[in-house]
């Protein structure tokens, strides 16, 4: 009797699961949930999951739930490709999300292109293919953007420096970071600065002091780093251990807010596309409450990128209507305006040619006398 009941239950479940899946928007995500670079991606994925859960709890989108399928690629390109294929062919995802290292981009782009499914970059750096003229299938919500970030950073350095700028650069030995630091070096020359050295530091490194020693000995009065947080902050700390006391500026990753408070270094600046939680915005309070309620092991301060990614997914599915397929979602994403409610300096706007944003906003923060202080308010850059 029990055996028969169990078999019956299994049979019902087998039929019911696809029915539920078909009655929901299926969104697939592959991300670096484990592995060395996961500290940058896992909090964003958790935030995105919490956001989607909240949307579902509130009735979903167009009266339908969002079924978010998470796959771990460990930042490995081959795994990311396999995950993408599975999400598209087995799970019938209408939208695929990347939350992983840039080395996973190419295989994911190939898989999504072959299937005609839109691909959203919601945690890693935005690839050039979302800039105008954008690839029809690729979109990006992430705050950081190569070239623009260095332009904003060096503009700040130039405006802040009191004398001639001798600037050093610290990159991680990955193509994106090295390329950006090479670009920044060239840019600094055109802005009247003197680039003195560029340290390209392998990930991971047992001791950053040998790199910092070389950097320090070239005599910079500013150092700029655009790399994963671990490289940025450990280079700074190694320089400070060597008694280098000049100005250091870096990209404000997810960890920036807690790290500024930990380091309490008045000459450490972070350039941010996202508002830090010390601003106390209502949306930030919402994120804090949601993270707490969901029991997330990541601090709310690290969740802005994932939250914005969730906002973009909700807006895209709303625009696609029901029933939705990949083509309808892509069409909706091509004409989208996402209100970030103050998390960014303005909305994210996508159109046919621009799947990045039409305008970028940057703030600069540092530790100042017992608290994090905003040292430059939103500065805008048009993306053409």
């Amino acid at each position: 009797m029990l055996k028969r009941t169990l078999l019956g239950a299994i049979a019902v479940c087998t039929v019911a699961v696809p029915a539920i899946a078909q009655d929901a928007y299926v969104v697939g995500l592959t991300g670096a949930l484990t592995g060395p670079p996961s500290s940058t991606y896992a909090p964003a994925v958790d935030a995105l999951r919490i956001y989607i859960d909240r949307v579902n709890a509130g009735g979903g989108v167009n009266g339908k739930k969002i079924q978010l399928i998470l796959e771990d690629d460990g930042a490995q390109p081959s795994k990311a490709a396999a995950n993408t294929k599975k999400l598209i062919t087995q799970d019938n995802a209408v939208l695929v999300i990347n939350a992983s290292l840039s080395s996973t981009y190419a295989p994911m782009i190939a898989e999504t292109k072959a299937a005609g499914v839109p691909l959203l970059f919601a945690s890693g750096v935005c690839p050039q293919s979302v800039y105008p003229p954008a690839d029809p299938l690729q979109f990006c919500t992430t705050g950081y953007a190569s070239h623009f970030d260095s332009q904003a950073t060096l503009d700040f350095v130039k405006a802040t420096a009191k004398g001639p700028v001798k600037i050093g650069f610290a990159a991680m030995a990955i193509p994106l970071s090295r390329g950006e630091m090479d670009y920044a070096q060239d840019l600094s020359k055109t802005m009247g600065m003197t680039p003195v050295d560029e340290q390209v530091i392998p990930p991971p490194t047992a001791d950053y002091t040998p790199f910092a020693t070389k950097l320090k000995d070239t005599g910079p009065n500013w150092v700029y780093s655009w790399a994963p947080w671990v490289t940025q902050v450990r280079t700074l700390e190694a320089l400070r251990k060597l008694d280098w006391q000049d100005d250091y500026i870096a990209w404000g990753h997810l960890e920036a807010e807690s790290e500024l408070a930990r380091l309490k270094d008045g000459k450490f600046f972070v350039v941010n596309a996202n508002a830090l939680f010390q601003e106390g915005l209502p949306i930030q309070k919402e994120i804090e409450d949601a993270a707490k309620k969901a029991g997330s092991k990541y601090p709310a301060q690290t969740m802005t990128e994932g939250w914005i990614g969730g906002m973009a997914i909700e807006a895209a599915l709303k625009g696609a209507g029901w029933p939705a397929d990949a083509a309808k979602v892509r069409a909706a994403m091509e004409n989208l305006k996402i209100d970030t409610k103050g998390l960014r300096g303005g909305p994210i706007e996508w159109n046919k040619d621009n799947h990045f944003r039409t305008r970028l906003y940057y703030r600069v923060y540092k530790w100042d006398g017992g608290k994090i202080a905003r040292v430059q308010d939103w500065k805008t850059y048009d993306v053409k």
């Binding site: 996961s38 500290s39 047992a206 040998p210 020693t213 070389k214 450990r234 700390e237 960890e255 990541y298």
Partner: protein, 289 residues
Amino acid sequence: MQLFVNIIVLASIYALIACGYVMIYRVSRVLNLAHGELMMLGAYLLLATASLFSGHAAMALGAAVALSLVVGLLVYVFLMRKMTGEMVLAAILTTVALGILIRGLVVLLWSAQQQYPAQALGVPNPSLVIGNARISLWSAVLVLTNAAVYGGLFVFLRFGRWGIRMRAAGQNPLLAAQRGIKLHSVYALAWSLSTLTGALAGILMALDSGLTTSLPVIGLKAFPAALVGGLDSLAGALVGALIVAAAEVLLIYYVDPLLSDVVPFLVLIAMLIVRPWGLFGTREELDRV
């Protein structure tokens, strides 16, 4: 002077890690490819004990070190003991699986975020001045710990009863067993000591510059130091670490920082061509590999 200090610090890191590889290989001929993960686990255990003994840094450190010793023992008792008598390759593959398991567990238990045990313990890390060079407090402690570990192991292996048993088991396990040496006890001790030294390296690195889940990769970078010196020689591990660290630091400063990633392996290849059994290793050991 700063370059000299940098070499000593990096060599100490590599030597402290390499010591664990050598201990296990020397005694049981098993290449422990989970050593980096066990090193990381030791550092994360400090994070756990730091919250457990909040405000008592010495107790937290002591507890983490003791737990590492126990972890090594448990790894042998519940996992590697089953591999005794099996092919060496099977044992090595078991350590690979163990490494994957530890990596997953660490992310599940402590998340993937960068952690700072020094902050959790409330201990500072000031920069100390030595002549015209500088060294952080925890780097200096690591250098001294490395010296103490190698000194202690030298005395233990040469004069200690269990040390002599370990050497005997490494040289000829069959004969050692026939002479009444309990091989399982010797192997368990080797795994415990190896995990302990690895954990010390992980703990001190984490206290100096923070802790991430990428620590096992540094464990692998120390592996060439053990091979260059000779996989069955502790003195070799020390010299190998010094050679690899000197090459790395000098090339970063005078040639190209990018070379630092490949230097350990370039030194290793050069050594394999010139003297495949390493500087202090024995030809017989290589044949067995």
